[in-house]
């Protein structure tokens, strides 16, 4: 008998068992295959369910592009930050108080708010605060670790930095919570700046850890492109400073705006509206009066009022709001008439102070009239009847044709959002004689400041209507040039000869009679002021504006300043806006490398700087001051100068008196400062000289025959040492245009 299985037995076993096993395996495998591939649960295959369970798709945010000024100064840049997330469902009750108190202090969020989030026990995702920086992130991490807390997460977020706060605010705009552009350039160029989101698709195990070798696919984000603007940071600063001073000095009710434009290319070198807001804190109302008014409201009314106030403070007044240009528009009427040949420079007008147009009496700003004047005088004196006559000579058809050609019936097409789509004016068909008359001198129409300065540039740059633009280049994330923006002029509106005449006339408008409030010694500046009644506003509300360009012989830049409803002091464009334009020009022209060229008269009358005379010999002091055209007054018998008034370094006009004390135990001779406000510069000089004081004249109109003193640096009645310099501000004051 066999002791061990025989071959036959084994064969028999194999023949029976193996097939059974194979059959079983086949059934099982087939079943698994079928379940995996074909069977469904809740309408989805198990394969798909498994993928859904295991695979995670995580978005990778693309870095938003940077915004630079023309010299590559960073104006807006993004960086990663964090947001703090609560998962109340995972936080035990006993930790609520600790978490609320701790995070409230670290994140500066209301404790009650955090507690109410924690009470929402069904939730796994409650955002406490977004865009926190590293220092706060580290504090939160420390807080979590020290207290061994769960249910608090820090997730990646993005923060947009605007390093200069409210600088260029109404142009740049800002981004929202999802890093999308909401206003200004951030909105207009959002598609270019935002880039393209990436994704990481990978599988996670049951504990949520990534399984790097399973199914991982990464789609890299495409960073956003960057913008290089035409704006110059320094010119922008000069403009903003001048606007802020103007708004404060004249207590402007309805904001002021300014534009600096390259006359020949339409590049915007600066654009500002004041008051504005901080881009890093765009949801705070900056006007304290408006904020106080909001506090008195409640509920929905307060909410709506707040939204309106925020909207108002973010608006770019230079292109979203309409204004009445007033006499500035006369450059359009005048250039059109010259171009058509219906007007010449020596055409004679007579202004009696009033003109009758189809039975309607329209007054000149100078009620007594200008008398006989030629076209140049008409511009210099801004005579309304002269321009009404000019408009009549032009005719409504031609007038409207040039109105259109100068771009007032269409948007400029600047690359900024919110440009006003419909200006207010009369078409040729709608225009009667009275409408033509009033539009001829800039009333009965509403246009944007941007349209006005663009048209103004066309009158002085050879006749070309340029395309205003604010972005010069688009760069990729590596700094490579993607696109350069150099728009061509749209059309030629007037001839080069007419433009040359306009330059001459506008220069005369600024320099005539010794120079008005926009005049700067050493520079050839041209321009026109405007003071318009506001349509639909209070009777006394005015819009004051001035547009200037320089240098007059080779225009490079144009500056427009518009002040909506000044309420303190005078309201005329020549008094409110012209000095602001002069202030901008005074800073910008040297910055652009345009040096002053003084005439002989100006050189003769340039101020001199008082030298340091202390410890000097009296004889040498006499000679020195004599060479500088300064007078000397000696108090004491000593031979050495102990004390001098005014101090060294102060600039004084030639002919000023320097007081020196030559005794050790000197006593200052004092005098009382007289009132010089309202006097002419000559009268003020006489008054101050009689009081033993020196005068320093400020303001471009100091030599103007109609100049008056509107401010003095030392108040009337103060006791000061003799020889002290009193700085006075001179302006010319014209009646309303």
């Amino acid at each position: 008998m066999a002791q061990t299985p025989t071959k036959k037995m084994k064969m028999r076993l194999n023949l029976i068992v193996l097939p059974c096993v194979l059959l079983l395996c086949a059934v099982l495998i087939g079943r698994v295959f079928y379940i995996s591939m074909f069977e469904e649960y809740n309408g989805k295959s198990y394969a798909l369910l498994a993928q859904e369970q295991q695979l995670r798709s995580v978005p990778i945010a693309a870095k938003r592009g940077t915004i630079y000024d023309r010299n590559m100064v960073v104006l807006a840049q993004s960086a990663s930050a964090w947001k703090v997330i609560l998962s109340p469902a995972q936080i035990p009750e006993e930790d609520h108080e600790l978490i609320a108190s701790g995070l409230s202090g670290i994140l500066d969020v209301d404790r009650e708010e955090i507690l109410s989030m924690l009470d929402n026990k069904q939730s796994y995702y409650q955002v406490i605060k977004r865009r926190i920086e590293k220092s706060v992130h580290d504090e939160v991490v420390t807080f979590i670790e020290e207290n061994d807390l769960s249910g608090i997460q820090l997730m990646e977020d993005s923060k947009r930095y605007y390093p200069y706060g409210n600088f260029l605010s109404t142009v740049l705009g800002f981004t929202g919570t999802d890093n999308q552009g909401l206003y200004g350039l951030e909105l207009y160029y959002d598609d270019i700046l935002k880039g393209q989101e990436g994704r990481v698709v990978a599988s996670k195990d049951a504990r949520g850890s990534y399984m790097p070798y399973q199914f991982e696919s990464q789609y890299d984000p495409v960073p956003g492109n960057s913008l290089v603007l035409t704006v110059d940071e320094k010119i922008q600063h000069f403009l903003e400073k001048a606007l802020e001073d103007t708004v404060e000095t004249h207590q402007v009710k309805n904001r002021a705006c300014g534009i600096v434009m390259d006359v020949n290319t339409g590049a915007i070198l600066a654009m500002s509206t004041k008051p504005d807001y901080d881009l890093n804190d765009p949801y705070t109302i900056t006007d304290p009066e408006v904020a106080a008014a909001l506090e008195t409201l409640e509920g929905d009314e307060q909410k709506q009022a707040r939204l309106n106030a925020l909207e108002q403070q973010r608006k770019n007044k230079a292109l979203t709001e309409l204004y009445e240009p007033g006499s500035v528009f006369k450059v359009v009427t005048g250039s059109a008439a010259l171009e058509e040949g219906v007007m010449t420079l020596d055409h004679s007008f007579y202004c009696s102070g009033v003109i009758d147009v189809a039975g309607t009496k329209i007054h000149c700003w100078k009620r007594s009239g200008h008398g006989t004047l030629d076209f140049v005088d008409a511009v210099v004196n801004s005579c309304n009847p002269a321009f009404i006559e000019t408009g009549q000579l032009l005719g409504k058809e031609k007038f409207y044709q040039y109105f259109k050609a100068y771009g007032f019936t269409e948007k400029t097409g600047i690359d900024l959002p919110g440009e006003a789509s419909r200006t207010l004016y009369y078409t040729a068909e709608e225009m009667g004689p009275v409408e033509l008359a009033s539009e001829s001198f800039g009333q009965s129409m509403n246009i944007t400041p941007l349209q006005m300065i663009t048209a103004f540039c066309a009158t002085v740059n050879g006749g070309y209507l340029v395309q205003p633009h604010i972005v010069a280049q688009i760069l990729d994330s590596e700094g490579n040039l993607v696109e350069s923006i150099n728009p061509e002029p749209k059309r030629q509106v007037i001839s080069a000869e007419t433009s040359e005449k306009m330059r001459m006339i506008l220069e005369e408008a600024v320099s005539a009679n010794g120079g008005n409030n926009a005049y700067i010694k050493g520079y050839r500046i041209g321009g026109k002021s405007g003071t318009a009644e506001k349509l639909g506003g209070d009777e006394t509300d005015r819009v004051s504006s001035f547009v200037g360009f320089a240098p007059a012989d080779d225009p490079q830049i144009a500056v427009l300043i518009m002040v909506d409803t000044p309420t303190a002091g005078e309201v005329y464009g020549s008094v409110v806006a012209a000095p602001a334009v002069a202030s901008v020009m005074r800073d910008v022209l040297p910055y652009l490398g345009i040096d002053p060229k003084y005439s002989e008269d100006e050189l003769e009358n340039l101020d001199v700087v008082v030298p340091n005379l202390e410890n000097s010999d009296v004889m040498s002091v006499q000679n020195k001051l004599s060479n500088m055209d300064l007078e000397l007054r000696q108090i004491g018998d000593g031979t050495k100068v102990i004390k001098q008034i005014p101090q060294a370094g102060i600039s004084v006009p030639k002919g000023s008196t320097i007081v020196i004390y030559t005794e050790e135990d000197y006593e200052l001779e004092m005098t009382t400062v007289p009132l010089v406000m309202g006097l002419t510069p000559e009268q003020a000089n006489r008054e101050l000289t009689n009081a033993g004081l020196n005068i320093q004249l400020n303001g471009g109109a100091s030599a103007h025959e109609d100049a008056k003193i509107v401010g003095q640096s030392i108040k009337q009645g103060e006791q000061v040492p003799k020889g002290t310099v009193v700085a006075v501000e001179c302006l010319t004051v014209e009646a309303i245009n």
């Binding site: 960086a79 590293k134 340039l606 101020d607 600039s651």
Partner: protein
């Protein structure tokens, strides 16, 4: 039956060999040469080593990948912190703040036009190179005499 004991014919019969048990020769299948123990151990060790190395490599790769990810995160954090600090620096050094500091703290004023001295030129600046004239006979004689006198008197 043969009862004749005289004749034991069985003694004369050919003695038949006692039936022998069949010789069963156990045929053992030829046993193959057994694998030697050292070889087995070596093989097992090799497999173990290779497997361990594979596992170790994968673990190391995972660790290094994790390390790379962490360092990259750290790097990104620091880059962003750098951006934030630069923005803070720029904000503190803005033109308006510089101007405010210069005028309020340092007492500086903007350069006035009167601090610049202007020189009036009627024409453009020109440079004239003085042409050296060839000395004539008289100049040469005069020079020689001057030198002679200097040599004698010792005075320059």
């Amino acid at each position: 039956m043969n009862n004749n004991l005289a004749y034991d014919f069985s003694k004369f019969e050919e003695k038949q060999a006692a039936p022998q048990r069949p010789q069963i020769e156990q045929i053992y299948p030829k046993v193959k040469d057994t694998i030697s123990l050292p070889k087995v151990i070596f093989g097992l060790m090799s497999v173990l080593i290779v497997t361990s190395m594979l596992i170790y490599n994968n673990v190391r790769i995972s660790e290094i990948n994790t390390e790379i990810r962490m360092q990259q995160q750290e790097y990104d954090i620091l880059v962003n912190e750098g951006i934030r600090l630069n923005m803070e620096l720029e904000s503190g050094a803005s033109l308006s703040k510089v101007e405010e500091y210069a005028s309020n703290v340092l007492g500086m004023v903007k350069m006035e036009k009167s601090q610049m001295q202007y020189i009036e030129l009627t024409d453009g600046t020109t440079v004239e190179i003085m042409q050296q004239e060839e000395p004539n006979l008289f100049d040469q004689v005069q020079r020689l005499l001057t030198e002679f006198v200097e040599n004698i008197t010792g005075k320059a």
